[in-house]
């Protein structure tokens, strides 16, 4: 499918490839690398049911490695929209662009955060909640969990900011510069292995800065292990520590060590 799409795109067409995430990323990674990215043809790859959305179908259907792989490909843009509305805007942007794009989306029926398709641009994140001291950078469909974590923190007197970071590659360096300058703790939140994902990308950005950043980076993501037992997405998120309570605890803990 991917090679065929590359052939179509090289002829001036705009193919969209779509199936369950592991089968359109890790399974055919070489086709994406060679036929799409090496040739820089504008194929849009859509992985559905990303992260733990298909938790109940087992690790074969889960995808906690795709961000690491796809963002390592030259020329590939990587986008994980928060909801169906942000998917609409990011798909439009992907189809208007002349480069390959990977859209990492949920399954269906995830909570809709935005009342209408929000403005989207590669390398620009959206503030979902204003705040100070603590910043939650959430990518993909974990945004409602991040907002719940923020509400949880707000109940204890904090006022965290939340950003929806759909554009994983490129990152929003303007927002990163600001939040690492103006706050104390920055948390990344992703339904992906901590190795190589969104948090890793932010960590790479941090160490590449010419001067040390002021805020502390804390990464929330999946552990480096497969899940073996049955269970739905919420259960799988819980096993990987991706709950509002766990994220709020991580934020508070990091903040307390600074003061």
């Amino acid at each position: 499918m991917i090679s065929l799409a590359a052939g179509l795109a090289s002829s001036g067409l705009r193919p969209i490839c779509y199936t369950i995430t592991p089968f359109i990323t890790t399974r055919c990674f070489e086709q994406i690398r060679v036929d799409v990215c090496y040739h820089a043809v504008p194929v849009v790859i859509v992985g559905t049911g990303s992260g733990l959305a298909y938790a109940s179908l087992g690790a074969t259907h889960q995808s906690l490695e795709d961000l690491a792989l796809l963002r390592s490909l030259p020329g590939m843009r990587v986008v994980a929209p928060a909801d169906a509305m942000e998917l609409r805007s990011s798909l439009r942007a992907a189809l208007a662009a002349d480069h390959p794009t990977y859209l990492r989306i949920g399954k269906k029926g995830e909570p809709v955060v935005y009342p209408e398709p929000p403005p989207f641009a590669f390398g620009e994140w959206r503030e979902a909640r204003a705040g100070t001291r603590v910043v939650l950078l959430s990518t993909g469909t974990l945004l409602p969990v991040a907002l719940e974590a923020a509400a949880n923190l707000a109940a204890t007197g904090l006022s965290p900011a939340v950003y929806s970071c759909a554009s994983v590659k490129p990152l929003d360096s303007t927002t990163l510069t600001r939040v690492f300058r103006d706050s104390e703790v920055v948390l990344t939140i992703e339904e992906h292995n901590l190795i190589g994902g969104f948090g890793s990308a932010v960590a790479e950005w941090v160490v590449d800065q010419p001067d040390p950043v002021l805020a502390r980076l804390v990464r929330c993501g999946a552990g480096d292990h497969f899940l073996h037992g049955p269970g739905e997405q919420d259960h799988a998120r819980h096993l990987h520590g991706l709950t509002a309570a766990a994220i709020a605890t991580a934020a508070r803990s990091a903040l307390s060590r600074r003061s």
């Binding site: 499918m1 991917i2 090679s3 065929l4 799409a5 590359a6 052939g7 179509l8 795109a9 090289s10 002829s11 001036g12 067409l13 193919p15 070489e30 086709q31 060679v34 036929d35 090496y38 040739h39 820089a40």
Partner: protein, 278 residues
């Protein structure tokens, strides 16, 4: 409308051209100290048949949307295509001397658009057929009636992705798609038939729903006939071409050492005499 090239050439002239190209290839492998000579030699006649009697191409308009596409999927043997493209006028023949040289346009395995006429960057086997399917399908969607040819190696047919494409092309009724398999019976480390159950190769493509032709891949009359013969309008065609790895120099023929070896100056001279070249 692009004319069919070289219709006037006789089989004898095509044979002579193939011998010239073989000599050039052998000299080039010595000059560049490059590997994969034997697999390049085995497909020379197929390329001569394609580029001088079949493909509707114009070297002066290499990106013409109406052109026929040839995907050279056995990228390790790209030196054969470079020699053919240079002779067909896609780039200056003198540039071949810079094959495999740092900074040149002729890498040992092709990069995207490295020189005009190279349609796809190959080297990792098993990609060309899928890409060819996409181009052949685009031709139909865009109502641009061109043909797509994919030259593959027999070892390449061990890649699962080849059979995904083989299964899909008849379903898409891609009558403008032709796969040519350079069946030289060897791959990098041994006899292809001993490494995998390759045979019967024709029956496999038959079973997948392709029109098939099995030919002597060094018989230019047979090659031209297979390329020109009437075929079903909506069925892809697989040409299984029986070839000899290292064809053209007796001491290279069917000797798999020449998968990686490059010849000495003395061996180039021996080959020149055998190929009856000035």
């Amino acid at each position: 409308m692009m004319a069919m090239p070289g219709n006037a050439m006789s089989i004898e002239q095509l044979d002579r051209l193939a011998r010239e190209i073989r000599h050039q290839l052998i000299a080039l492998s010595c000059h560049a100290q490059s590997a994969h000579l034997a697999g390049a030699l085995s497909c020379v006649d197929l390329l001569v048949g394609l580029y001088w009697t079949c493909l509707r191409i114009d070297p002066h308009r290499p990106s013409d949307p109406a052109r026929d596409r040839l995907i050279f999927s056995k990228g390790h043997a790209i030196s054969a295509l470079y020699c053919v493209l240079a002779r067909r006028g896609f780039f200056p023949t003198e540039e071949l001397l810079h094959y495999n040289e740092e900074g040149s346009r002729l890498p040992e395995q092709p990069s995207p658009g490295c020189v005009p006429g190279v349609e796809w960057a190959t080297g990792s086997l098993g990609h060309g057929l899928g890409v060819g399917l996409g181009m052949a399908l685009a031709s139909r969607i865009q109502r641009a009636p061109y043909n797509v040819y994919v030259v593959m190696s027999d070892g390449e047919c061990q890649e699962g992705s080849v059979w995904e494409g083989a299964m899909l092309a008849p379903r898409l009724r891609l009558g403008n798609l032709t796969a040519l398999i350079d069946f030289n019976k060897w791959q990098a480390t041994g006899r292809s038939d001993e490494i995998m159950a390759m045979s019967p190769l024709k029956a496999k493509w038959d079973a997948f729903g392709w029109a098939t032709r099995e030919i002597d891949g060094h018989n230019l009359a047979a090659i031209c006939d297979a390329l020109a013969a009437p075929r079903p309008a909506d069925t892809p065609l697989a040409i299984i071409a029986h070839t000899v790895k290292g064809k053209g120099a007796s001491f290279m023929e069917d000797d798999n050492n020449w998968h990686y070896r490059s010849p000495t100056v003395g061996e180039v001279e021996r080959a020149r005499i055998e190929l009856n070249q000035p």
